[in-house]
Amino acid sequence: MVQDQEIKTTPLHALHLELGAKMVPFAGYDMPVQYPLGVLKEHLHVRQSAGLFDVSHMGQTILRGHEGVDIAALLEQLVPGSIQTLVEGGLRYTMFLNDNGGILDDLMVTRPENAENSLYLVVNAGCKEADFALIQKKIGNKCHMEILDDRALLALQGPKAVDVLEGIIPGVASLSFMRARNFTYEGQELYISRSGYTGEDGFEISIPGYKAPAFAKRLLGSSAVEAIGLGARDSLRLEAGLCLYGSDLIPETTPVEADLLFALGKVRRERKDFPGAERILAQIENGPDIKRVGIKPLGRAPARSHTGIVDLEGNLIGEITSGGFGPSANGPVAMGYVKSKFSEIGTALGLVIRGKVMEAEVVALPFVPHRYFRKPK
């Protein structure tokens, strides 16, 4: 095969091949799109039991503030989330914004235990080079950025994930959703968070790359766990109503249009001190022109991304940004952007699929209820 650029591999590449995965290029990496089980059964297995995902292509980095610089306040220059209020061991979903309030990437920020003025970031594979360059350019003179390209990242997701992982790493069961701790495994430090991209309970595990294959095999040794490819990862996150960067979020969309208001920290709104604050706060005040919504096609035909959305008179009012078949929803599911006056739940819409208008409806997200492990406050 001829490649324009050399394709990269993760520490689990040989294991994927050994497991019989069908490999595809994704964000510059040769990644498993599915294993012999197939996308449909992989998807259902995660919802019923547990699935292991290799997400080592994602970017992991630790930012450490220089002497006298609060790293949380520094990172807040790039994102609208309240990072200064993030407790030790807490995770926050946020996004890098451009000066116009457009989303450059979405990411997870963790303030590790015993953080000592550091933050751990996980960013999208396809954006990581640009994200690291942005950090370097905007705040690089006030912090040290350590790119953790020697670490693998695994996700173990599903209702049985906790029992499987607790059997190998005692203590993980005590974490609640969006909390993280460091654990020692065979003398190595693992960063484990209770988080994920499926809507299910589960964990993300950062582990030194050389340790990852044996660790992954140990997880797969449990009868509860199957290896899951990118195909099911996409259908799971879509049913969970979670955005895919590059499809549902692009540099032209703001967090308000994307209906991600929860990611705009209250104190940040008051301080109006994040990139694009003027435009974003005006959109909150006046309502955005377009808005991301869940869309349920009423027939059986899946509506793929870029499908046109029309009103009942046939006028184009938006576009599907993610869509396909939801194995757990047992039917087509989609999300997309519509003009705001069509964003009310229950609004009847049309989808232009192969030249025909198919009936659809605006619905609340997610399509499948989240089952995160939250502790009572």
Binding site: V39, L40, A301, R304, G324, R354
Partner: protein, 125 residues
């Protein structure tokens, strides 16, 4: 018994008494993965060889199904609408898509026989 032929679009074509029954091959269903939706042509439609006249979708993606020969659609397998997974379970039997009344039996000559198709599919694997 009739005759079975194959297209480079991974369809099988079983022709008997001027009627061609068309479906996708086992190779095609394996490559697609679990089929979750099938859209069939309209009964009575006149189709030309090469037209995209049906759609088969897996969780991942949609693929077109082309008319391997020209003619009139005289039957469609509506069982696929309720049970699209029939394409995976029985691609070359119960999972047939449509029947075409051949406009030109000579078009069958352009299709591949089983050995030629197997060699073609092996090249694509």
């Amino acid at each position: 018994m009739g005759m079975i032929k194959f297209s480079e679009d991974h369809e099988w074509i079983h022709s008997e008494d001027g009627i061609a029954t068309v479906g996708i091959t086992d190779f095609a269903q394996k490559a697609l993965g679990d089929v979750v939706f099938v859209e069939l042509p309209e009964l009575g439609a006149n189709v030309a060889k090469g037209d995209d006249i049906a759609v088969v979708e897996s969780v991942k993606a949609a693929s077109e199904v082309y008319a391997p020969v020209s003619g009139e659609i005289v039957a469609v397998n509506s069982a696929l609408e309720d049970d699209p997974a029939l394409v995976n379970r029985s691609p070359q039997d119960d999972g047939w898509f449509f029947k075409i009344k051949l406009a030109d039996e000579g078009e069958l000559e352009d299709l591949l026989d089983e050995d030629a198709y197997d060699a073609f599919a092996k090249d694509q694997a």
